[in-house]
Amino acid sequence: MSLDKTQVEKIAHLARLQIDPADVPEYATNLSNILDLVAQMEAVATEGVDPMAHPTEAVQRLREDRVTETDQRDHFQAIAPQVENGLYLVPKVIE
């Protein structure tokens, strides 16, 4: 499996990662090598095998639907890059 420059750029966009254009060829090589490693799985027959998502097959626990968290907005926003009046600030989304 070999990824080209365009594919790497597309994946980086999907992952919302800025990649320096000069680094794209190296990423293409490394990612292709990793996919080659992963491709060893193709040789194994897995028809009828149950996919394993969890090591001990545990299921999600349910709990009573009641409020357990207290309001700690100011505490949590103290580490935010930019806040105003309790709101997180981001660049304008709608013109």
Binding site: A12, A15, L17, Y27, N33, L35, L37, V38, A80, P91
Partner: protein, 484 residues
């Protein structure tokens, strides 16, 4: 004082040989003297440590302490610590002072342990050499031109150089066991779900598990007593009784059935490392253990399956780092997409970016079945191998790592070669089993680890098996020179 184990230090505190404050100051001095060489700590929290030590001394005086009360420990910088910088080895969290404690941290605090600081690690725990850390590589105290292993490399190097009696680590594909092996100390990765993941910054949630790094199995048992247990804050925490792991350390192991998987002794293993591991197995024979040759036929698929499952989960987990609520934010973003892309592009290093991209690709429309679903099926096959083996044997043994510590820079630019340094540890994470690494000898002056793998929730048995070996050998007491 610094060569003592937790068990010995706890006795010293109770005898009044020294106070926790004296002990803490002594270790802080060792960190100050030696850590410029090793770079094993990202943050040293001296003021907080001394305050915790004074409180511990009061508790000890009042006679209500635990074994860990007043004992200095270090925490891997992946565990959130309220009010103390928590970087996860990344530029992304260079300014992240966690607003809450991980459950593991709360448990150490409740036990009265003294936190000296936060240890260096591969960025977001992605690495096997500690070279992906934004805060610089950690050096192996046995030879400072070599790596300590990773990702818990700071914890392992600090314990090996006796800068701290014990430290926490996390293990997603070998990140406790491999650095423990390369640094000549004892490390335990518990069963998935045994130790709470709450507040432990997530890498691959179905694989991540916290555990202890220490000099001895006895100390690891003492630490696990504090770390293990059900936590309602972790949706995958398992509500299973926590035994006293120190209670069974001295059980005899006569008749113990040890499985040796032939796949762990094939051409990928350094011959000298293999000899050391075989000598350790011979020691177990003398203790009355029975050796059974077994096969784990899907071993060769563990690394390929892991490099789909772990990146897929990482790409999803690390999407929370968006430059909005916490962590690194780029300068003057022109729009929201620019904010995301540049904050993440600047905040993450190359290995983290590679894994996010592999995961994003594997999960993208049209590729899910070929990669993620396939990997989950292979994961089942690997897990079934172990299940069948444990019908025949009590524990499985083999090398922890195919070689001793390699040189800094040697594998840094070749991800695949780096990934293969975890060939013997990764399958254990995929299956969710507990595994240990204990010091078993040396090759050219560098430590070799023996890996011991158990069935689910058999940590007590692993610790017992490791402890019995440490009663008849002294590899675990060897410390590197130059750190006196």
């Amino acid at each position: 004082m610094h060569t003592k184990t937790i068990a010995q230090l706890a006795a010293g505190l109770r005898n009044g040989d020294f106070s926790s404050e004296e002990l803490t100051r002594a270790y802080l001095q060792r960190v100050a003297r030696h850590d410029d060489t090793l770079n094993s700590f990202i943050t040293v929290s001296e003021a907080e440590a001394l305050q915790q030590a004074r409180l511990a001394d009061q508790r000890l005086k009042a006679g209500d302490g635990t074994t860990l009360t007043g004992i200095p420990v270090a925490q891997k910088d992946i565990f959130c610590t309220n009010g103390v910088l928590t970087t996860c080895g990344s530029r992304m969290l260079e300014n992240f002072v966690a607003p809450y404690n991980a459950t593991v941290i709360d448990k150490f605090n409740a036990a009265g342990a003294v936190m000296l600081g936060k240890t260096n690690m591969d960025e977001f725990a992605m690495g096997s050499s500690n070279e992906t850390s934004y805060y610089g590589p950690v050096r192996n105290p046995w030879n400072t031109d070599t790596v300590p292993g990773g990702s818990s490399g700071g914890s392992a190097a600090a314990v090996a150089a006796r800068l701290v009696p014990a430290a926490s680590g996390t293990d997603t594909g070998g990140s406790i066991r491999q650095p423990a092996a390369l640094c000549g100390i004892t490390g335990l990765k518990p069963t998935y779900g045994r130790v709470s993941r709450y507040g432990m910054i997530a890498f691959a949630s179905s694989l991540d598990q916290g555990g202890p790094l220490a000099q001895t199995a006895e100390d690891a048992a003492i630490l696990l007593n504090t770390m293990a247990g059900f936590d309602s804050h972790d949706s995958t925490s398992i509500d299973e009784v926590v035994p006293d792991y120190t209670a069974t350390l001295n059980d005899a192991i006569k008749g113990l059935k040890i499985g040796l998987p032939k796949e762990y002794f094939d051409e990928g293993l350094d011959a000298e490392v293999g000899k050391v591991v075989e000598a350790a197995i011979d020691e177990y024979k003398k203790l009355g253990a029975e050796i059974v040759d077994i096969s784990l036929p899907n071993t060769h698929l563990a690394v390929p399956a892991y490099y789909v499952v772990a990146p897929a989960e990482c790409s999803s987990n690390l999407s929370r780092f968006d430059g909005v609520r916490f962590g690194h934010r780029c300068e003057a973003p022109i729009d929201l997409e620019d904010l995301y892309k540049r904050s993440r592009g600047e905040g993450f290093g190359p290995e983290v970016k590679r894994r996010i991209m592999i995961g994003t690709y594997a999960l993208s429309a049209g590729y899910y079945d070929a990669y993620y679903l396939k990997a989950q099926k292979v994961r089942r096959l690997i897990s079934e191998d172990f299940k069948q083996a444990f019908e025949q044997v009590d524990v499985i043994m083999g090398p922890t790592s195919p070689s001793v510590a390699f040189k800094l820079g040697e594998k840094k630019d070749d991800p695949i070669t780096m990934y293969l340094s975890d060939i013997y540890t990764i399958a254990v994470n995929l299956a969710g089993l507990p595994g240990m690494s204990i010091p078993a000898g040396f090759v050219n002056g560098m430590p070799v680890g023996l890996q011991i793998i158990g069935s689910y929730f058999n940590e007590a048995r692993l610790l017992n098996v490791a402890h019995q070996y440490q009663q008849v050998t002294d590899w675990h007491t060897r410390a590197p020179t130059g750190f006196e």
